[in-house]
C-alpha cells in the first residue's frame, strides 16, 4: 500500500428542493408519496409533451457554482443523454453536456484543495421497485421522482484519501444546506455520492489506466468505508501484477464490501445532442451579480469570523457553524448577552456546545437567562447544598422510601423542596447531588 497513491474523484448528485419539477409543474417533493401520484404528461414522457425549464432550479445551480468559486457560463444549454432503462420514460435524460452552467471552482480541505471540474443541472429519473404481485416477481416503476431537479457536482481527481473525501463531502453538504437549495438528506436519496477510485504508483504522473466507480452510497461513513475497501482491493491486485477492472460497483451495507454491478469496458455512447425543445440560456453579468447577492455567509467565512471576532478556537467555531441555524443562534445569544451580562462569547459558545439547547424551542434570550441563573448557583457551596439536602431527606421519609421503591417522581418532589430553600440554584446540579445522596443512604 505504501507504494501507491490514491487518485479519487467524486460525483455528487443533489436534488433541489424547488416547489416544482425541473421541466414541469409536478411537486419536486416526492419522498414517501404514493407511487405515481405526482406525475403529468411531461415527467411521464408522454407523446407530445414538452419540457419547460424551472428558472429557480437554474438560479440555484448558479448559486451553488458561485459558492464553490466556479465560473458561470455566459451561454449554457440542455442536452439529451440517451440510454434505455425502464425508469427513464423518454429514452433520454435531459442533462447538460458541453456547456454546463458552472465550470471550475475549489473547496479547500485540511488535506489540500479539491478542485471542482463542473456543476451542471439535469432531471432525476423514476424509481424501480422490485416486488411480488399476485405471486409473480415483477418490477414496478414509480415516476414521482422523474423530472425532479438534480444538480451534479464533479470534482477533479484531486482527493488522496478516504478521510479527505469525507471531509470534502461534509463541507459540500454544509454549503448546500447553507444555501438552502436542498435538504441534502442522504437517507432520502436527495444527496447521492459516487466516488471514482484508482491507485497510482508513487512518483508516476497522469491518471491510472483504470477507475472504479462506486454507486448507492448513502452516508459519509459508507463513502469512507467503500473508498478504503476499494483502495485495499486495488493494492492487492496491483501487487499481484493485475490491473483492476474498469467497472461500476455498489456498496453492500450488509457485507461491508463493494460488489460488482457492471463492467464498463468501453465508454457508453449516450449520443448527446442539444435539446431542441429548450432554447439556449444566456446570462448577463447583472443576473449573476443578482444571484451572488442572495448567497449567505458560507461556512468557511463564518468559521474565520467566529475565531477572529469572538476569539473562539477552531474546534468550537466548527461545532457552532455546523448548521446555519446553530450559528445564527449563537450570534443572537451573544447579542442578547452583550451589556446585560458579563458572559464572553467564549462562555456562551461553551455553554451552547455543552448544554446543547433545543434551538427550535428555546429562544436565545431565554437561553441566556437560564445561563445566568445557572451561573449564579455556583455561589452555593457543596457544604450548603449537602446540608439542605440532608435536612429535606430527613423531613420526608415517605418520599425517600417511595424513591427507593422505584418511584422516580419522588426525586423531583424532593428537588423542589431543596430548591425552595436555595432559590436561583441549578436544578441539574441539585438533582444530581440529590440522587447521589439518595442512592448512598
Amino acid at each position: 500500500m505504501d507504494t501507491y497513491e490514491p487518485i479519487i474523484g467524486l460525483e455528487i448528485h443533489v436534488e433541489l428542493k424547488t416547489k416544482s419539477g425541473m421541466f414541469c409543474g409536478c411537486p419536486a417533493d416526492h419522498f414517501g408519496k404514493k407511487p405515481n401520484t405526482g406525475t403529468c404528461p411531461v415527467c411521464l414522457g408522454l407523446p407530445g409533451a414538452l419540457p419547460v425549464p424551472n428558472k429557480k432550479a437554474v438560479e440555484w445551480t448558479i448559486m451553488l457554482g458561485l459558492a464553490l468559486g466556479s465560473t458561470i457560463a455566459e451561454v449554457s444549454k440542455f442536452d439529451r443523454k440517451h440510454y434505455f432503462y425502464p425508469d427513464l420514460p423518454k429514452g433520454y435524460q435531459i442533462s447538460q453536456y458541453d456547456q454546463p452552467l458552472c465550470r471550475g471552482g475549489m473547496v479547500p480541505t485540511s488535506f489540500g484543495d479539491v478542485r471542482i471540474h463542473r456543476v451542471h443541472l439535469e432531471e432525476d429519473t423514476g424509481k424501480l421497485q422490485h416486488a411480488t404481485v399476485d405471486g409473480k416477481r415483477v418490477t414496478l416503476v414509480d415516476f414521482n421522482r422523474s423530472g425532479v431537479p438534480l444538480v451534479e457536482i464533479v470534482t477533479e481527481a484531486d482527493i488522496r484519501s478516504a478521510e479527505q473525501a469525507k471531509e470534502f463531502l461534509k463541507k459540500l453538504h454544509q454549503i448546500v444546506r447553507y444555501l438552502g437549495i436542498s435538504d441534502a438528506d442522504m437517507e432520502k436519496g436527495s444527496m447521492r455520492l459516487e466516488p471514482n477510485i484508482s491507485l497510482r504508483k508513487i512518483g508516476e504522473k497522469g491518471l491510472p489506466p483504470y477507475k472504479v466507480e462506486v454507486k448507492n452510497i448513502n452516508s459519509f461513513r459508507f463513502a469512507e468505508r467503500a473508498i478504503n475497501y476499494e483502495l485495499e482491493r486495488h493494492a492487492r491486485m496491483l501487487d499481484e501484477g493485475k490491473i483492476p477492472l474498469q467497472e461500476t460497483r455498489g456498496w453492500d451495507e450488509a457485507k461491508n464490501a463493494t460488489v460488482s454491478q457492471r463492467t464498463k469496458e468501453e465508454a457508453a455512447d449516450y449520443r448527446y445532442f442539444p435539446e431542441p425543445d429548450i432554447p439556449p440560456m444566456r446570462f448577463t453579468q447583472q443576473m449573476i451579480t443578482n444571484i451572488q447577492s442572495t448567497i449567505p455567509e458560507l461556512p468557511d467565512a463564518k468559521l474565520t469570523r467566529f475565531t477572529k471576532d469572538f476569539g473562539l478556537n477552531n474546534q468550537d467555531a466548527s461545532l457552532l457553524i455546523e448548521s446555519q441555524e446553530l450559528a445564527d443562534y449563537f450570534e443572537e445569544a451573544v447579542k442578547v448577552a452583550t451589556g446585560r451580562t458579563n458572559f464572553s462569547p467564549k462562555d456562551i459558545a461553551n455553554w451552547i456546545i455543552n448544554r446543547k439547547p433545543d434551538i427550535d424551542a428555546v429562544m436565545p434570550a431565554k437561553f441566556i437567562e437560564s445561563m445566568r441563573e445557572a451561573k449564579e448557583v455556583v455561589a452555593v457551596s457543596d457544604k450548603d447544598l449537602f446540608a439542605v439536602i440532608d435536612k429535606v431527606l430527613a423531613e420526608n421519609a415517605k418520599a425517600v422510601a417511595d424513591y427507593k421503591a422505584g418511584k422516580q417522581q419522588s426525586a423531583m418532589f424532593l428537588m423542589g423542596l431543596v430548591r425552595r430553600q436555595l432559590p436561583k440554584s441549578d436544578t441539574k446540579l441539585i438533582l444530581d447531588t440529590l440522587r447521589k445522596s439518595l442512592d448512598s443512604t
Binding site: P47, Y272, F273
Partner: protein, 469 residues
C-alpha cells in the same frame, strides 16, 4: 355543398341561421360516407353522434369565434383527449391520450368541431402517405396517385370538402406538399408561432403546426385561433399575434418578390415550372415586382435535413420501446427504421462532429443567406414539389426519389421561416400544381395578403376534385 363555402360565409350563415352547425356537420358526415371509401383520408372518424351533439350545443350557444360550429380534421399526430391518436403507427394503435394538444384545446375553445384524425406517413416519415400502417390515402384528383405527405389525409379531406379545414404538421413539407398535390391552400408557420405541445414530435427543431384550408383567407382565420405563446412550449414565441384576417386585404402593390433562378432548373417538372412562371406574371399584374435572384445553397437543403431530422427522430422515438405503450419497436415501418438508424449513426460519438454538428453549421449559413435575401424582399416564390403527384409505389420504393421530393420544402423548415402553399394551375390529366411564398420570420400576415390578392384574381383554388364529380 356548404362545406365548400369559405369560413367567412359559413360563419355568417350560421349566425343568420341559413343553416346550422348541426346541418353542416351532418352534411360532412354524409359526404364522408360517400367519398371516404374511395380516398381513405381518415384513421379515426369521430363518432357521428358525439360530433352532432357538440354541433347542437354550439348552435344553442353560438359564440363570437368565427370557427364556432365549423367541422375540422387533424393530422393524427396531435393528441386529442378521449379520441385515439396513432401517428399512423400500430405502435400507438389503441393509444387514447390523457391530455389534449394545445392546438386542439384552442380549437375546442373556439367552438370548432373535430370530426376526424387523419392519415399520414407513420411518425411523419414520408412524402406520400404510403408509409402508414393504416393503408395509403388516395389523391381525390386521381385515385391512382398519392395524396402527398406526410399529411396526405387532412389535405385530401379538405380537398374533397369532407371537412372545412384541417390542422397539419410540417417538418419538411408535410403540410405544403399535400396541399400542392390536392389543390388546397396551407400555411407552414414560422417556427415557434404555434405551440407544439401535444404534437407527437418528429424532429423537434423543425416541427411546426399549421392550418390547411381552401384559401389563404380561411387559413388566416384558423391561424388567428391557434397562434400564440404557450407556457407549455419553451420554443413558442411571445411575439404578438397579428389580426391576420384584417391585414389580409392590405394592398400588395409595391411588394417585392424574389424568384431564385436555381429553383427553376432541371430538377423541376416542366409543367410546374410553366405554371409558376404564369403565376409570376399574375403577381406583376397585381402591382408587385418579381426579380430574379440567386439562392445557390438549395441543393444542400436535402442532405442537411436528412441529418437533422433523422437524428432528432431517433431520439424522439426512443420512448416507444414497448414498455409503456403496449406494442414493440418491431412495428416501426422500414422507413421509420431507416431514419432511426441514420439518426442514431449521425449522433454516435466519433460521427457527431462530422454529421450533426456540421449540419448545424450549414443550418446557420442557410439562415444567414435567407435573412440577407429577405432584407430586400417580402417573399420568395418557389415550387413546392419538383414532381407532379406520384403514382403509388413510385416514392415508397425509391428512398432517394422520396428524399428529392422534399427539395423545395425542407430548406424552409431548416431556416424556420413561414411559407404559404397555394394552388397555381393544373397539369396533364388535371393534376393540381402548387407554389409557395416564403417570407421572413413572423411575416405570415404579409404572405396571407399576397396569397389572398392572388386568389381574388385566379380560380384554381375553387376547382373541385375528380372524386366529387
Amino acid at each position: 355543398m356548404n362545406s365548400d363555402l369559405s369560413i367567412r360565409d359559413i360563419a355568417k350563415k350560421l349566425r343568420s341561421k341559413e343553416f346550422s352547425s348541426y346541418d353542416l356537420t351532418r352534411e360532412c358526415y354524409d359526404l364522408i360516407e360517400k367519398v371516404e371509401p374511395k380516398i381513405h383520408a381518415f384513421i379515426t372518424l369521430v363518432d357521428k353522434k358525439d360530433a352532432l351533439a357538440r354541433a347542437r350545443k354550439i348552435d344553442e350557444h353560438m359564440t363570437q369565434s368565427p370557427l364556432a360550429g365549423i367541422p375540422y380534421v387533424m393530422k393524427d399526430a396531435y393528441l386529442t383527449r378521449g379520441v385515439r391518436t396513432t401517428a399512423a403507427s400500430k405502435i400507438l394503435d389503441d393509444f387514447i391520450a390523457p391530455y389534449s394538444a394545445t392546438v386542439h384545446k384552442k380549437l375546442e375553445d373556439a367552438g370548432a368541431i373535430l370530426i376526424g384524425k387523419m392519415n399520414m406517413d407513420a411518425w411523419g416519415h414520408g412524402a406520400s402517405t404510403e408509409n402508414t400502417d393504416y393503408g395509403p390515402s388516395k389523391n381525390p384528383w386521381d385515385l391512382t396517385r398519392s395524396a402527398g405527405g406526410s399529411g396526405g389525409g387532412p389535405a385530401a379531406a379538405v380537398a374533397a370538402r369532407l371537412s372545412v379545414f384541417g390542422i397539419g404538421e410540417d417538418t419538411g413539407g408535410s403540410i405544403r406538399n399535400p396541399a400542392a398535390w390536392n389543390n388546397i391552400t396551407a400555411m407552414k408557420v414560422t417556427y415557434g408561432r404555434v405551440s407544439r405541445y401535444g404534437a407527437i414530435a418528429y424532429a423537434s427543431s423543425l416541427d411546426t403546426v399549421g392550418p390547411t384550408a381552401k384559401t389563404a383567407e380561411d387559413c388566416a382565420f384558423v391561424l388567428e385561433a391557434i397562434a400564440g405563446h404557450d407556457p407549455y412550449d419553451a420554443t413558442s414565441s411571445k411575439q404578438p399575434v397579428p389580426n391576420y384576417t384584417k391585414e389580409l386585404e392590405k394592398s400588395i402593390k409595391g411588394k417585392r418578390i424574389a424568384f431564385p433562378t436555381e429553383f427553376y432548373g432541371e430538377a423541376l417538372d416542366p409543367e410546374i415550372n410553366a405554371a409558376i412562371t404564369k403565376a409570376r406574371e399574375v403577381f406583376v399584374s397585381l402591382g408587385a415586382t418579381v426579380t430574379d435572384v440567386s439562392l445557390p445553397m438549395l441543393e444542400y437543403g436535402v442532405p442537411v435535413y436528412y441529418i437533422l431530422a433523422p437524428s432528432e427522430t431517433s431520439s424522439n422515438l426512443g420512448r416507444y420501446d414497448g414498455v409503456r405503450y403496449g406494442y414493440g419497436r418491431n412495428l416501426f415501418t422500414k422507413e421509420n427504421k431507416r431514419r432511426i438508424m441514420t439518426g442514431t449513426y449521425a449522433l454516435s460519438s466519433g460521427y457527431y462532429d462530422a454529421y450533426y454538428k456540421k449540419a448545424l453549421k450549414v443550418r446557420s449559413l442557410f439562415i444567414e443567406e435567407y435573412q440577407k435575401l429577405l432584407v430586400n424582399y417580402d417573399a420568395i416564390l418557389s415550387p413546392v414539389t419538383p414532381i407532379m403527384p406520384s403514382k403509388f409505389g413510385e416514392l415508397l420504393n425509391d428512398p432517394m426519389k422520396n428524399m428529392m421530393a422534399d427539395l423545395y420544402t425542407v430548406i424552409v423548415n431548416i431556416v424556420g421561416l413561414p411559407a404559404l402553399s397555394l394552388p397555381c394551375g393544373f397539369g396533364k390529366g388535371g393534376l393540381p400544381i402548387g407554389m409557395q411564398l416564403v417570407g421572413s420570420m413572423f411575416s405570415e400576415s404579409s404572405l396571407f395578403s399576397l396569397g389572398h390578392a392572388y386568389q381574388k384574381v385566379t380560380d384554381w383554388h375553387m376547382q373541385l376534385p375528380q372524386v366529387l364529380k
